[in-house]
Symmetry: C2
Subunit: 337 residues, 2 copies
């Protein structure tokens, strides 16, 4: 396995010159650069990245920390991240936080062992301990999270507010629904929180009053959608439409409607958020909100690499990137007015 020493010998120059030539240092003559490159090619030389990272005390590996659960978004996200990192000669390392409690451990060791040149962190919210850990680290990072509230960080997030607002607004203004319920996500999840907020704001703006028992807390699972959907459909004065904070819970509502013998959208309408792959194939197809997840990954990676390359990040205004959403109207809701 050839190294720069060998190239240096063959090209009759010093290792420093070889290193400089290979790194396009302007201080080396075009002539010697060509010579070095020629010899390197002849020897089929490949730089030892570990040695380089070690010497430079940097790394061209970007860590992508994912929550424990498997999610169909992840492969899109990973694809987006990897595409950008690859273009910039970086690598993508996927790290699942295997138990949530271990996230902090995993993180604090991974951040300090020199392996990573940057970090993309996908988290449901930013805990105090997490803040602590992030405060101590020197390597640049970007957070993918619903909450933009996290004022001091660079954050990429789906535009939950716009998406949920548009959908709610559509249900009220275009469809004519006035009895409208919402199944929220977990109360500690930033995405979920913002969707509730947008839902409430849209109702308020349209002068729709929402009874307390029309807003119920789920946990993004299908089971919770089923359970809470049953509850809502069992009310004496039941809603005309249920807006579930994600498609998975909307799916649970389909199950609930089936159990109650209710027809969607005639007896009860349902809408979701995410536009997971299955949604278009449901019977009826689900009205929902779509976000470009692959794009989210790309934007996060671009932002991170920008930070890595220009180390001025520190005192800069933190960047907030929102991934636009798009209303996807299908047949689980209808125009009733």
């Amino acid at each position: 396995m050839p190294n720069i020493k060998e190239i240096a010998r063959k090209a009759k120059v010093s290792v420093a010159t070889v290193s400089r030539a290979l790194n396009d240092d302007p201080k080396v003559t075009e002539e010697t650069k060509q010579l070095v490159l020629k010899v390197a090619t002849e020897l089929n030389y490949k730089p030892n990245i570990v040695a380089r990272n070690f010497a430079k005390k940097t790394s061209n590996i970007i860590g992508l920390i994912l929550p424990d659960i498997t999610d169909e978004f992840f492969s899109e996200l990973i694809k987006g991240v990897d595409e950008v990192t690859y273009q910039h000669n970086f690598f993508t390392m996927v790290i699942s936080s295997h138990r949530y409690l271990q996230l902090e451990n995993t993180l604090s060791s991974v951040l300090r062992n020199g392996l990573l040149g940057g970090l993309i962190l996908l988290v449901p919210n930013i805990s105090a301990t997490l803040k602590n850990i992030l405060a101590q680290t020197k390597i640049p990072f970007v957070i993918i999270s619903g909450g933009m509230s996290t004022t001091n960080y660079d954050v990429v997030s789906v535009d939950n507010y716009q998406g949920a607002f548009d959908l709610t607004n559509y249900l009220i203004k275009k469809c004519g629904y006035s009895k409208i319920a919402h199944i929220t996500g977990p109360s500690d999840n930033d995405d979920a929180k913002i969707r509730v907020k947008a839902f409430k704001d849209a109702c308020l703006e349209n002068k729709i009053t929402v009874p307390k028992n029309f807003i119920v807390e789920g946990d993004f699972t299908r089971e919770s959608g089923l359970r809470l959907g049953m509850e809502l459909m069992s009310l004496k004065n039941k809603p005309e439409v249920i807006f579930a904070a994600n498609d998975m819970m909307a799916l649970g509502c389909y199950d609930a409607a089936f159990k109650k013998g209710l027809h969607i959208p005639d007896d009860i309408a349902v809408a979701g958020f995410d536009d997971i792959f299955v949604s278009q194939y449901l019977n009826p197809p689900l009205t929902t909100v779509r976000a470009q997840i692959e794009d989210e990954g790309k934007r996060a990676a671009e932002l991170l690499i920008e930070k890595i390359k220009s180390k001025i990040s520190v005192n800069n205004q933190p960047k907030k990137i929102k991934i636009a959403t798009e209303l996807v109207i299908r047949n689980s809701t209808k125009i009733i007015k």
Copy 2:
């Protein structure tokens, strides 16, 4: 950032002793080991993994090379791989081969730059150039691929044969279908090839003759399923059931049936392979074959780590691991006899 030199100073021992203590070398006294560990903890020491990998000329990073396309399996696969690697103190690096032509390039540089300690390679088939590259590499690898034909490699694969055979057999023996068609995957895809083989064998064993025009080649996309489904359904003597080589093409057949005004399963039955998430929600739910993809990732990672740790792999008999499949019977097929 503390390093072993600092620990050595504080503990009044040499760096060699520190290194040994941290690596659980039996040659160091329990007493000094405890002392070193105590000091290390006090200093909140984290080993520099890059330096270690560099010194040992090994790496605890496992590369997972994925094809360009986004697939819902990938996140399951990644999860399985990462879970195992994590348990063994390895990391998982995901590398998408961004254009198929670049796979060879990506690979040959990645294999030689010292970054990876092992490789899991997901490929539709093993080309000659790929064989060449793999022949030259020193680092251990495992292939995830449909074809077990690849005799000289360690391979983990879904048991395509058993799955396709069982399904075909079920359609004939249990359901009583005798006019049975098959939409294959791409002819250069090993998984697809084995599924066809199993389909034919099962038909043969049950003395069912399949007309030539009942076996048509798709490319695993929904569009090809639609197109070929239309073709098959337009035949004068059309099949009673279509076995599509994956669920995506089965989905296309649903579209085709809808266009032709045919009812599934009464006018035409459909079966698939993979049991993707959407299949259970189709109308009617799809009869198909399921494989444990996460398990596939785990097995591949386990096998690879075993190879890495015991470097005797070379002259050993190559390991062939098959991931069992399971018949999933739903309502897109029915018993007609």
